[in-house]
């Protein structure tokens, strides 16, 4: 997202309240634990006792909802590399600035805005460490 796009978004929020449909935490959990869809557990671990083989390339997702606001989580997932260019966490909402993307994934974000809202809603429920 460009900074002017961010500003417009912020303004829209002030005037009209959230432009996002409320996310669904149960759907968000399914996305987070799906290794073809959310891919999160390839890098992160978290409070998912039924999920074997969680990655250790990133901080645990446990307590994410206590540490971060919805807006911060949304920003992180949508454009992690906008926050930190060196991040290995993919920018889930990005379609630009990528190279050699396989045809099946070209010009598509990894997750749609609605799916990102579901993930945010789920992460907000992770309030214990």
């Amino acid at each position: 997202m460009t900074s002017s796009a961010r500003a417009v978004l912020a303004l829209a929020l002030l005037v009209a309240g959230p432009a996002w449909a409320q996310g669904d935490a149960a759907r968000g959990r399914a996305i987070v634990t799906n290794r073809q869809k959310g891919l999160c557990l390839l890098c992160h671990s978290g409070p998912f006792p039924e999920e074997r083989f969680q990655g250790n390339l990133a901080p645990s997702l446990a307590g994410a909802g206590r540490r971060w606001t919805a807006a911060a989580l949304r920003a992180r997932i949508t454009d992690s590399q906008g926050l930190n260019p060196g991040s290995i966490m993919p920018s889930y909402g990005a379609v630009q600035g990528l190279r050699d993307v396989a045809p099946a994934f070209r010009d598509k974000p990894i997750l749609t805005e609605a799916e990102i809202e579901d993930v945010v809603a789920f992460l907000l429920t992770l309030d214990d460490e």
């Binding site: 557990l41 390839l42 083989f53 050699d100 993307v101």
Partner: protein
């Protein structure tokens, strides 16, 4: 004292073979010829090596006795095409020009079998990439490819294999990503496969386009990988999970 520090420094820079990161069971399977599934291809390769083929009516064995040490110094410079060539490519070339036989496509069973038969003769020898300056530009392009983020997941080879080797990506332990065990038997493939097949897997994994087998990009990456793994023992046919 200085030599000791030097020695220690060298020890720290030693590349680590993927074999060292495997379970003891898989290490044992790789080391034991009667358990290593790659040996089936080896035997087929040995038979093909002896067989007369093509219009020239010649077998590989008519021109070559031992090929020990060859795999350790490939990819090499090919003056005929003025380009780098890897071991499979050289075998394809001998087959076409010296035997005048029908081409063996990349990743075909007979080419894998012949390649592993030749590669195994270098087993235990240190990877010794040639210092030929004509290889330098392609090797440098290989290094650039290694460091280039790509695909929908926007990751580079270096971000996994240099910066995060030893950590876990889901269930997989990330190896340093060396090229010393190819062709190799991979349980996931249920088959022997080439280094290029492995590179395609990593590219597809980050949701990037994977060039066709034999493409210049692979040769460039292979050259860089050989350099970065210099000194590691040839372990073909390695076994991987």
């Amino acid at each position: 004292m200085r030599w000791l520090l030097l020695l220690l420094g060298m020890a720290a820079a030693q590349p680590r073979s993927g074999t060292q990161d495997m379970s003891r069971e898989l290490q044992a399977m790789q080391a034991d010829d009667s358990a290593n599934p790659g040996m089936l291809w080896m035997q087929e390769g040995e038979a093909l090596f002896q067989r007369r083929e093509g219009l020239a009516g010649k077998a590989c064995a008519d021109c070559h006795a031992s090929l020990a040490g060859v795999a350790a110094r490939y990819p090499a410079w090919d003056p005929a095409t003025a380009a780098p060539i890897d071991l499979a490519g050289r075998i394809q070339q001998c087959r076409a020009e010296r035997q005048q036989a029908a081409p063996l496509p990349r990743e075909s069973e007979p080419l894998l079998a012949l390649t592993v038969f030749v590669a195994r003769q270098s087993r235990g020898m240190a990877l010794a990439p040639p210092a030929d300056p004509r290889l330098a530009p392609a090797r440098a392009r290989g290094e650039a490819l290694f460091r280039q983020r790509r695909g929908q997941l926007n990751l580079s080879c270096a971000q996994c294999h240099e910066e995060r080797a030893g950590l876990r990506l889901g269930s997989a332990l990330i190896p340093e990503g060396h090229a010393n065990g190819y062709p190799q038997y991979r349980l996931e493939w249920q088959a022997l496969g080439s280094l290029q097949r492995r590179l395609r897997n990593c590219m597809v994994g980050v949701r990037a386009t994977a060039p066709a087998y034999g493409a210049a990009e692979y040769l460039e990456l292979e050259l860089f990988l050989a350099q970065r793994g210099a000194g590691l023992p040839v372990e073909a046919p390695a076994v991987r999970p």
